[in-house]
């Protein structure tokens, strides 16, 4: 799987290259600025891009902007955005086109190599990987208001949280140590309570959840 990597801090870039290579990714390019990233994404057509939000030369949200522009040019281009901080605002922008294949994680998640690589693979496959911090903020915010989310049982909330992060039923079942069938039952209950049409597609599932959480703002 071919990866384009954009990160301006040398140590972190170097570490990411080594880590991804250890997990059998092919690093097509490892760049350190926005313009280089745009060029690499255009010319190399990678399977997935791993991008730092803040990149030179502007040192603002250049990485995010390049990634969004590249996705407009090539819809569905898988992009995993890393950031020193996570903001719902940016998560929404990434999810806005509804094409899936996006991820938005805190840089610290890199510490857990296995989980990080799993997230890269999920994004490359067209799924989503949202940082638990984003999801938690969303859920705590919505539950404060008098919304249908209040009708969920604690277990169902747990499942929704993991689902929103982009996990498959199998992965959720494994993490919560229950059978996959139990999870399937929970998800159909959740969709029922939230008034959402059931879909088999993992990615559309997350988008539906986020779209639901988004409404009424």
């Amino acid at each position: 799987m071919r990866v384009v990597l954009a990160e301006d801090l040398f140590l972190l870039r170097d570490g990411l290259v080594r880590m991804l290579e250890a997990f059998d990714f092919e690093i097509a390019a490892a760049v350190e600025s926005g313009p280089e990233l745009t060029k690499a994404l255009e010319e190399l057509q990678p399977d997935v891009a791993v991008v730092d939000v803040r990149l030179p030369p502007s040192h603002t949200d250049e990485g995010l902007q390049c990634a969004l522009a590249a996705r407009r040019a090539r819809p569905g281009l898988p992009v995993l955005v890393l950031s020193q901080h996570v903001e719902q605002l940016y998560a929404r922008e990434l999810l806005a086109d509804g094409n899936g294949g996006v991820g938005y994680l805190l840089k610290d998640r890199v510490f857990d190599a296995a989980q990080f690589v799993d997230a890269v693979r999920r994004v490359a496959a067209g799924g989503t990987a949202m940082d638990p911090q984003v999801i938690q903020q969303l859920l705590s915010r919505r539950s404060a208001a008098d919304e249908p989310l209040g009708a969920l049982t604690p277990r169902e909330r747990e499942v929704l949280e993991l689902m929103a992060q982009g996990r498959s039923n199998a992965a959720i079942a494994a993490q919560l140590v229950v059978t996959e069938r139990a999870i399937a039952k929970h998800t159909s209950n959740i969709f029922g309570k939230l008034d959402l049409a059931v879909s088999d597609d993992d990615n559309r599932r997350v988008l539906a959840v986020l779209a639901y959480l988004d409404q009424g703002r």
């Binding site: 901080h85 903020q137 705590s140 915010r141």
Partner: protein, 425 residues
């Protein structure tokens, strides 16, 4: 071009007519009221009526100021002394207010101006409509109306022409047309002249400007002190947070690593446990640093500017918050930062104290002024004053010559309005 000139002349004529009436009626009424009211101070009643009358007079003068600016591009600054913030209420407050207003030289200049504005100034203004209307009168005379007037024995004079025949009436019409053509060139200048007279009377004198400057220097000194105090307190807070938080965690991590090094061979199980703890410590140190950075300068503010930073802030609040932003550019970083934290503090206040279930933030920039309103539908009753969160915001904005206004009647709603002069780039 000619059409524009014609339009300008007619508009100026209408304005001249309006100003004549406005100047005469307003000045005479206000002058009489002021003189009576000030005279009645001896009887005691005047103490209560004078501030009201003088406030009315200031409103009248301020209407003139804004008309002068918008109609004729004549800016007339004002130099009323501001009331001290600790003005008492009730009878003593009234007496204080009365004496403060009477001691203000701007009040006396306003009164002198009223005299000018009811004598010379209307004459200047009334010329503008007259030049136009006179032509109509000349034509009416020429159309035959001169005859009955003449027959009735009225020796009608049109300017310097004694109208006694069709011939002279025609001359009158011609002269009237001449006046009209003159109006095309002088009308806007006449209206402007009216305002220039007002400016000569009520714009601050050199001495008043000096005093205003001195007041401004006082205020700058005060806000500079506040700014220095604030930033010193902020530095102390940051130092303390670093020392108690991230730094302590890194030390703990180093100690754990030392222990691990010592026991990795003798007690691998314990070492593994410590490694997990060290990793947890590093994660928490990162979280603390992140929160600290957000408290100093939020990343979204640095990356996207004020609008998106407040939007991002609203997304994290436990209350539904609507953010409406109309900013064509970005302000300077210190202004953005002050505005952001002022909004953030207002929102925190709204959430903690107002009992509201909805909040609205409106931000826009117009006339070199960044205006922000934070409104909630809570129970109201917020007050500014020493020790309240709102006075903290006031001090923060004061450094940039910004002001804060709070409207919060008991029962709600509360509206906090902030204005900061700044340019966007």
């Amino acid at each position: 071009m000619t059409m524009k000139r014609l339009k300008d002349a007619v508009v100026a004529g209408a304005r001249g007519l309006y100003l004549t009436i406005f100047a005469l009626a307003g000045s005479i009424v206000l002058f009489v009221l002021s003189v009576l009211s000030i005279a009645f101070i001896l009887l005691g009643i005047g103490v209560f009526t004078t501030p009201a009358v003088l406030t009315l007079l200031r409103a009248y003068a301020n209407t003139y100021r804004s008309l002068a600016g918008s109609w004729s591009d004549v800016p007339i600054p004002h130099a009323y002394r501001p009331f001290p913030p600790d003005l008492r209420s009730g009878v003593t407050g009234q007496v204080e207010r009365c004496s403060l207003m009477l001691k203000d030289p701007a009040t006396w200049r306003d009164l002198q101006w009223l005299l000018v504005n009811m004598t010379v100034a209307p004459v200047v203004a009334v010329l503008a409509p007259s030049l136009i209307l006179y032509m109509l009168y000349g034509w009416v005379l020429a159309a035959g109306v001169w005859e009955p007037i003449y027959d009735a024995g009225g020796g009608e004079w049109f300017a310097f022409i004694h109208v006694t025949s069709q011939d002279t009436a025609d001359q009158a019409a011609l002269l009237g047309t001449g006046f009209f053509i003159l109006s095309l060139f002088v009308n806007p200048a006449l209206v402007r002249g009216h305002f220039l007279l007002a400016r000569a009377c009520i714009s601050p004198t050199a001495r008043m400007r000096e005093r205003a400057l001195a007041r401004r220097v006082d205020r700058l000194t005060e806000t500079r002190h506040d700014a220095v105090d604030n930033s010193a307190a902020e530095l102390r807070r940051i130092e303390r947070d670093l020392h108690d938080g991230a730094q302590a965690r890194l030390v703990a991590m180093g100690m754990d690593l030392g222990t691990i090094e010592a026991m990795i061979e003798t007690n691998p199980a314990k070492a593994k446990e410590l490694i997990a703890k060290a990793r947890q410590n590093s994660g928490e140190a990162l979280t603390e640093l992140r929160d600290l950075v957000r408290g100093i300068h939020p990343p979204v503010l640095a990356e996207r500017g004020l609008g998106d930073a407040v939007k991002a802030l609203a997304l994290r609040l436990p209350l539904p918050t609507e953010v409406d932003v109309e900013l064509p550019g970005r302000a300077e970083a210190p202004v953005e930062s002050a505005a952001y934290f002022a909004v953030s503090e207002s929102l925190t206040n709204a959430i903690k104290h107002s009992g509201a279930d909805r909040v609205w933030v409106d931000m826009h920039h117009a006339d070199g002024m960044l205006r922000i309103a934070v409104t909630d539908n809570g129970k109201g009753g917020a007050v500014t004053g020493a020790g309240s969160g709102l006075s903290g915001i006031e001090r923060r904005l004061g450094t940039f010559d910004g002001v804060l206004a709070v409207s919060s009647p008991a029962g709600g709603p509360t509206m906090v309005t902030m204005e900061i002069p700044c340019v966007l780039s």
